[in-house]
């Protein structure tokens, strides 16, 4: 079973993602900001990360930078943000996906599948 780490500061969204992805057969871990996510990453290595950008504490950009610096574990990241105007910036930066938050999770699930195949 593949493990997915979800990092988002909105509790309702974490629950929504978790339930939807659990239905799809993923093992889901939750973190509500960058620090919590780093804690999780220090003890285990998920197969993919779903990352919000704007969060209190350590935000998604800084977390992403730290993850990418640690070359040894090459974990794919899907950015899932309320902002759509930075898509271009991120797609040039990291090869992974950038998804604009939507109540329809089909795109996110599709991206996960692509990345983890």
């Amino acid at each position: 079973m593949k493990t997915v780490l979800i990092v988002d500061d909105e509790e309702n969204i974490r629950i929504l993602y978790k339930e939807e992805l659990a239905d799809e057969g993923y093992n889901v871990i939750l973190a509500s900001n960058g620090y919590e996510a780093l804690e999780v990453l220090s003890v285990q290595k998920p197969d993919a990360i779903i990352l919000d950008i704007k969060m209190p504490g350590m935000d998604g950009v800084n977390l992403l930078k730290l993850i990418k610096e640690r070359k040894e574990d090459d974990i794919p990241v899907i950015i899932c943000s309320a902002y759509e105007e930075y898509k271009q910036d991120f797609s040039l930066w990291a090869s992974e996906e950038y998804i604009v938050k939507s109540s329809d999770l089909t795109k996110m699930k599709g991206a996960l599948k692509r990345i983890l195949k």
């Binding site: 929504l16 990418k68 902002y83 930075y86 109540s103 329809d104």
Partner: protein
Amino acid sequence: MENSKIEFEILRDILKISNSTLNLHERLNQVVEEIVEKMHVDACAIYLVKKGGETLSLKGAVGLNPEMINGISLKVGEGITGWVAAEKTPLAVLEIFKDPRMKNFPGSWEEKYRSMISAPILFLGKCLGVINAWTIEEKAFTTDDLHLLSSIADGMSGSIRNAQLYLDATKQYEELVSLYDISKMLNSTLELQELIGMVTRKSTEFIGASGCMLHILDVKDNLLKVKSMYGLYKSPEEISRTQLRLGEGVAGQVAIKAIPMMINNLPEESEHLLPMEKIFSSLLCIPMTVKDRVIGTLTLHDKKDASGLLVPFDKDDMNLLMALASQGALVLENAWNYERAERLFQENAQKANDFAILYEISNAMNTTMNLDQLLKIILKAVTFGGGLNFNRSILLLVNEKTNTLQGMLGVGPDSGEDAFRIWTEIGSKKMSFKEWIASVNASGQERTSRFDQLAKGIRVPIEYGKGVLALTVLEKKGFNIRNIQEDPRVNPDVLKKLEFESFATVPLISQDRVIGVIVVDNLYNKREITDKDLRRLELFASQAGLAIENAKVYSDLEKATRSIRELQDRLIQSEKMAALGEMAASIAHEIRNPLVSIGGFARRLDSKLDASNPEKRYSRIIVKEVGRLEKVLQEVLAFSRSAEPLFSECSVITLLEEALEVYEESFSECGIEVIRDFHEGVPNIHVDSNQIKQVFINLFSNAQHAMSKGGRLTVGCEYKAVEGEAMIYVSDTGGGISEDVITNIFNPFFTTKHTGTGLGLAISHRVVDMHGGDILVKNEPGVGVTFTISLPARQKRGGISEEMDLSAARTGVKGKEVHYRGQGDFLNGMGKGEGSESIP
């Protein structure tokens, strides 16, 4: 969540109101009503800061006594409202009557209320006004409420500022229009006394002074003589001294120094003043000059405001009066020339005929303000049988930029037969000059002759050694060339094509500068050009120069008026857009998260409910409505400032095809026939492909709505190589747009549809604008609409690849590169902070 929904609703309504076509007063009233209704308060009012920034006056209110509107005004700093304006900070007050700020300020009517909330309306750090809301019961307003009221204030600031700018611009515009009217009037009459009277009257009315006196300098005895007076002069003693020596009194000083004088604190300031001048409390005196020579002075006294109170003259008055005086001076000088001409006319009976015609010609010249037509009249006059009586003439004007003489017009028959025909015609009909000009102006009469074409092709550099035309300009005098072959001054190349054998030239002089040259000859009847002919031509040319200068002033003025109006339109549009964009972005992002959870869970619910379950209908509705809200959000965001284009080379035609594909199905469902008119050779151009495709999609969506019962859509694209622009047009047969809304269609949130958001065209406009292009609409009511978009092929700056190298905020991660364009806070923060060094 609850709160942000209400907030979005309110702010959206407020934006709609701000962008509506209502006047400011009505808009403010609608806003306060909206606040009372949605924020559950008992009263609400908006105060605006008056010009000068010291007082606030009540401009819109609900729940207060209506008579108070416009009646109430406060000092900035006074009471709670004044405090908010001074500190530029929002404030919530639980118990108004206990607030220390109310102590020294008996705001009697406010005692009816117990709690209030107040926020400043700020624009670029300046306080434009204050919004207040009151409750009768005690109410503890929260920080959310404060935040909301501040957002509303932000939302309105742009539109308030626009309204103020608009007022200023209108005032300026009206001033220009009056100037223009005056110059038009001045130029259409030639009665000297009437003219002078008009100058004094208009100046007085225009500036709002109590009276005006015009002195003219008599060159014979060097005395300033009163020629006209207007307005309230108190006693006959004031006008008893109608003559001033140079240097005597204010007018005498002004005439000697040739600079204006403005005295606002009479009679304390009494140096140089005559006793009669001390009767007034303020004076503004301007020299009237023609060609740097003072011909007289114009003195205004005692400016009053609308309510009749004395107010000082200011710099603006001085500038306006100077503009007026220079117009006036020019025309007076002009009129004198006429008077002189008229006198001569009477004195020399034997030359009566000649002068009558010259007089008529001058008349025609001075009543014509259109430059092209004027030039035509000048040349016609030169060749008219009873007038100057030359066979052919050419008018050339000096182009100061290139320092060349350029042919403007040639008048004359192309051949001997032609000449014969024209002359017999004029002779047999005994036409007067006026009739002749009228017949010339009647359209169709005139076809451009070969001679005219050749004349228009003449270009001569204004240098010595370049022939006699250049010499006429350089030496400021005319030449009579008897034999073109033998005269060393002639440059044969220029005049050979025109078959000149002998000819004469004369400079056109205006304000001491040579502005052009007239060339004449008598090719057909071979009559020799005499020195007398030449003198008459010179006399005529001096009149013509003046007329041309007048026409130029007039057309400059016309241009200025037009450009100020355009500027004003553009200003309003762009400020509206900018304010909207910023606010929309910040709200939209806040709302997106709650929408994701509402919609996401509704979807989960929906998938769990059996189709037979009646609740399934509800979940469906939630899913659908959330989907709609998300679409609105996306449009609002697309509109926000941050969506700067990302340029790459694209084929516009491919983008058009892709956008057409999106609508293929609905077009065929509605019975819409699509016609493609794609020209060959359209190169790839620099655009943001997503944004431009969105623009096309918006246009197609509108076309589809307009033609829901069928029609024809024509989509075209061609390349204008000269301009370096791709032109795209989208044309429908959907009945067009009604004339009364056409000016609104590019405004955000303007829609005539039940389900529209009204952002389609606003976004398209923004996108095209940021590409440096243009979007135009051609509307045929009852038929259809054509949108035309022009896009420059190359962007002057900022393809992504160039930005990459120039950007200081650049860093590599894992060997790949990041670029950001300084939009969001978080990305900026990273660029400046720890992330700015490069990570290998």
